[in-house]
């Protein structure tokens, strides 16, 4: 086996990104869609930190990963508030049933 390098980390983040995308596309429940978004944000963070370690960029990548984590926290709070309101108004959180704007 080859020693672990940049490519290994990139492959992991690619697979994590694909799984997050799969969750977003296939899941009906809005909370599960949010989990997919979190997976995608994590894979982006792995990329940032891997390039900050193996490229010659100093510590900027790690800082950007920190910023992404902060934004993920804000996003999760807002999105869950919206999901709660959807549940209160329509008593469902399935994203395919929330189609009032269609008709």
């Amino acid at each position: 086996m080859v020693t672990v390098g940049l490519t290994h980390f990139l492959v992991i983040s690619t697979l994590l990104f694909s799984m997050g995308l799969y969750a977003i596309i296939t899941r009906k429940n809005a909370v599960m869609v949010l989990m997919g978004v979190e997976l995608i944000l994590n894979s982006a963070n792995i990329n940032f930190i891997a390039f900050s370690r193996f490229g010659n960029f100093g510590y900027n990548g790690q800082l950007i990963a920190l910023f992404v984590i902060v934004l993920a926290a804000a996003e999760a709070a807002i999105a869950l508030a919206i999901v709660l309101n959807i549940y209160k108004n329509l008593s469902t959180v399935n994203v395919d049933e929330v189609d009032n704007l269609k008709d």
Binding site: A23, V31, E38
Partner: protein, 162 residues
């Protein structure tokens, strides 16, 4: 194959397997708990990349904050009396094909790109360095993020209470 590689493969396996269970499990609560292991694995990968502070922040914010928030979301949006909290799935076939093609293309790009790797320096504690950067070069971003977080939390509370 040294100990670093062994630990890397361990964390990679943990991350990918638990992420696979997250996206395939029918029960949302089980998915949330598998997500815990995914976050732990990603934190381990951060440590292997020499980002100790980011790894700790990942554990505190994701596992301690976001995951709890997601679990609250699951609990509040289901009838608490029914134990089986299922999630339906749609578009399975087209999603599998599309995501498979997409990840194949991405993997090919990652594997065949001629990445230039600079020489690795010894991994040092990063907390002080990150603090200095945050207070000097990135102070505007830091302040803006603080304001965004405040506004987001106030907005979330006021939306959820309505």
């Amino acid at each position: 194959m040294n100990i670093y590689d062994l630990i890397f493969y361990l964390f990679a396996l943990l991350t990918l397997v638990s992420a696979f269970f997250v996206v395939t499990n029918k029960n949302i609560v089980h998915s949330a708990f598998y997500l815990l292991f995914t976050f732990f694995g990603v934190a381990g990968i951060y440590v292997l990349l020499g980002a100790d502070f980011v790894a700790i922040v990942q554990l505190i914010v994701y596992v301690g904050g976001i995951l709890i928030l997601l679990l609250f979301g699951v609990m509040l949006t289901n009838k608490i009396t029914n134990v089986e909290i299922k999630t339906g799935t749609i578009n399975i076939f087209s999603a599998t094909v599309g995501v498979g093609l997409f990840s194949g293309a991405l993997l090919a790009a990652v594997l065949y790109a001629p990445w230039k790797e600079s020489a690795l320096q010894e991994a040092a504690p990063t907390t002080g360095i990150l603090g200095n950067l945050l207070m000097n070069e990135y102070v505007l971003v830091f302040e803006l993020l603080g304001i965004i977080l405040l506004i987001a939390l106030i907005g979330a509370a006021s939306i959820a209470r309505r």
